[in-house]
């Protein structure tokens, strides 16, 4: 069987990663571990002392899956805006790809798949460290990894699609500050949604990150229930499916006008 065409795009990204992994590994892995230290242990100590638990979990156990999902989103966001603009405009590596037999759809597919591979690398490492530190209480945590990857893809797919439709990176900082950052904080990652005012809680439910965090938490705490899990997975899959249509279109328009 022949490998799909997008694998050749992934191969390029892997080769670049082999040279430059140190820089990106810091934001992808070290940053979430710093959060885990500060939140899980520092803040967590305080929380546990005052309240006893969060939804019946120690704060470290509560926040670990939240951070897992949130960093999958962060990794996706970091690698889907400016790096896509590099491909279409600055380095123009995507233009070199579509001059070969590869199609814009292959380039987009390779982009999403590579993002997912990178997420699984960082999320997997994070899970192992968090488990060693006591943030994981169930062997079901192994399925938290695909859930985290799915969460990352639910951001990489639409953000990459959007980035390829832009001529400049002007809007990117705004997306990070007004989109990614609030989601990072208010999607049931650091505290349960029911602490939010009603309307904000409703808003957070729309966030793919909330669905991702819920899935990861159910997995790392061993409380997976088929019904809710299926809904969360379906939401994330739907986001990716819709984004895929836009992504194929925006890559095609940008690369083969």
């Amino acid at each position: 069987m022949r490998a799909p065409a997008f694998a050749r795009v992934v191969e390029r990204e892997m080769r670049v990663f082999r040279r430059l992994w140190r820089g990106t590994a810091f934001s992808g892995l070290v940053t979430p571990l710093l959060y885990l230290g500060a939140m899980g242990f520092g803040l967590g100590g305080l929380v546990d002392e005052r309240t006893g638990d969060v939804d019946g979990l120690s704060y470290l156990v509560f926040v670990t899956p939240g951070l897992l999902a949130a960093s999958a989103m962060q990794t996706a966001a970091n690698n889907s805006l400016w790096p896509v603009m590099a491909g279409t405009k600055w380095i123009r590596s995507y233009h070199a790809m579509v001059a070969s037999p590869l199609s814009p759809g292959d380039v987009y597919g390779g982009f999403v798949v590579w993002n997912s591979m990178r997420t699984s690398l960082y999320s997997g490492s994070f899970l192992v460290v968090a488990a060693a530190l006591g943030g994981v209480t169930s062997f079901w945590a192994v399925v938290a990894l695909p859930f985290a990857v799915l969460t990352g893809a639910a951001f990489a797919a639409p953000l990459g699609a959007f980035a390829a439709s832009r001529d400049t990176d002007q809007s990117f900082p705004l997306i990070v500050r007004l989109g990614i950052m609030p989601l990072f904080l208010f999607s049931g990652t650091f505290f349960p949604l029911d602490l939010l005012p009603g309307w904000l809680a409703t808003l957070a439910v729309i966030s793919p990150l909330w669905h991702g965090a819920e899935l990861c938490r159910a997995a790392t705490t061993g409380s997976l229930a088929l019904g809710p899990a299926a809904v969360h997975v379906a939401v994330l899959a739907a986001v990716i499916a819709v984004a895929w249509r836009f992504g194929t279109r925006s890559f095609t328009r940008k690369l083969t006008p």
């Binding site: 191969e11 390029r12 080769r15 040279r19 590596s93 070199a96 001059a99 037999p101 199609s103 690369l255």
Partner: protein
């Protein structure tokens, strides 16, 4: 599509490209035959790059017909691209990779097996004289080296047709000659080229046959020698004056010296079969020119005569 020649690697009929209401290529007809170096000569914005991108199957045809290697780019784009070598105007070498990895990864885009790519990459780096830079990053390379690497990269799939968009724009004369030298060698091996350029000397040096494009249309077609013989005179006398006022004052007299006169901002061109005769008469005018020079006609003259403008405009 009844009149396409059999030996044509590329054929366009009424080929048109529009971007919204802007017409970039306006119904052009042309054929590129196997083994020839075919050029699109014209100033910036004439529609050369848009044409090239349609041939490269990375830009859909708006109307008209295009066949590349016997196939329709709208149907068999991927198949066509697998047999093309493209050297784009805007370098898109991978600055995140080394020289060597640029060739390796580009070869992988064509799904070539790695051992085969390595073998070819060695030869190609040798060919473009970059073997000693194989482990360097692309960024610190000079403009000429980057262009040569782009040429090597375009050859990694052993293409049937090579597309070069402005291959020496932005290069200094020495780097330019090095690029030309490599292209001559490919030409001698019988490779088919399509190239665009706005340098008339490049078109004269490299092209067996060319079309002159202006404002989205083809205005003339032929070999460089044909085009000059058909549209220009054998020789041209360039007359310059110390001041623009003197040039204006002398204009009527200059027009009396020969049938065809083109007036530019800084000089007047007199087209004549007998350049020396016209030159000596121009030298006797009052006000006297500051310089009078006789030279052979070039494609630049053909373009000027056909469009009233210079290529660099």
């Amino acid at each position: 599509m009844t009149d396409l020649p059999h030996d044509a690697l590329v054929s366009g009929r009424g080929l048109t490209k529009t971007f919204g209401s802007r017409v970039a290529v306006d119904g052009i007809d042309f054929d590129v035959r196997r083994g020839e170096a075919f050029g699109f000569l014209g100033p910036n914005g004439a529609g050369k790059t848009s044409t090239m991108r349609m041939i490269g199957a990375v830009s859909p045809v708006s109307s008209g017909t295009l066949r590349v290697l016997g196939m329709d780019p709208a149907v068999d784009g991927s198949k066509i691209r697998s047999r093309l070598g493209v050297v784009p105007q805007e370098d898109n070498l991978d600055t995140e990779l080394t020289v060597w990895d640029n060739l390796l990864i580009y070869g992988r885009y064509f799904d070539l097996p790695r051992p085969l790519i390595r073998e070819r990459a060695e030869e190609l780096l040798e060919f473009v004289q970059l073997s000693d830079r194989r482990d360097d990053r692309v960024d610190p390379l000079s403009g000429g080296m980057k262009r040569r690497l782009a040429i090597a990269r375009a050859l990694v799939n052993q293409p049937d047709l090579i597309l070069l968009d402005e291959p020496t724009t932005g290069l200094d004369p020495q780097a330019r000659h090095l690029v030309w030298d490599r292209l001559y060698r490919l030409k001698r091996e019988g490779v088919t080229f399509v190239l665009t350029t706005h340098y008339m000397d490049e078109a004269e040096q490299l092209c067996d046959r060319l079309v002159i494009m202006d404002r989205a249309r083809i205005v003339a077609e032929g070999s460089p020698r044909d085009l000059i013989a058909r549209h220009s005179t054998r020789e041209v006398v360039e007359v310059r004056f110390a001041t623009h006022d003197q040039q204006v004052a002398a204009l009527d007299d200059l027009k009396g010296l020969t049938d065809r006169v083109e007036v530019l901002a800084d000089r007047v061109l007199l087209y004549a079969a007998d350049g020396d005769g016209v030159a000596s008469r121009a030298g006797d005018l009052d006000p006297a020119p500051s310089s009078v020079l006789v030279r052979r006609s070039t494609l630049e003259d053909v373009f000027l005569i056909l469009t009233g403008r210079t290529l660099e405009d």
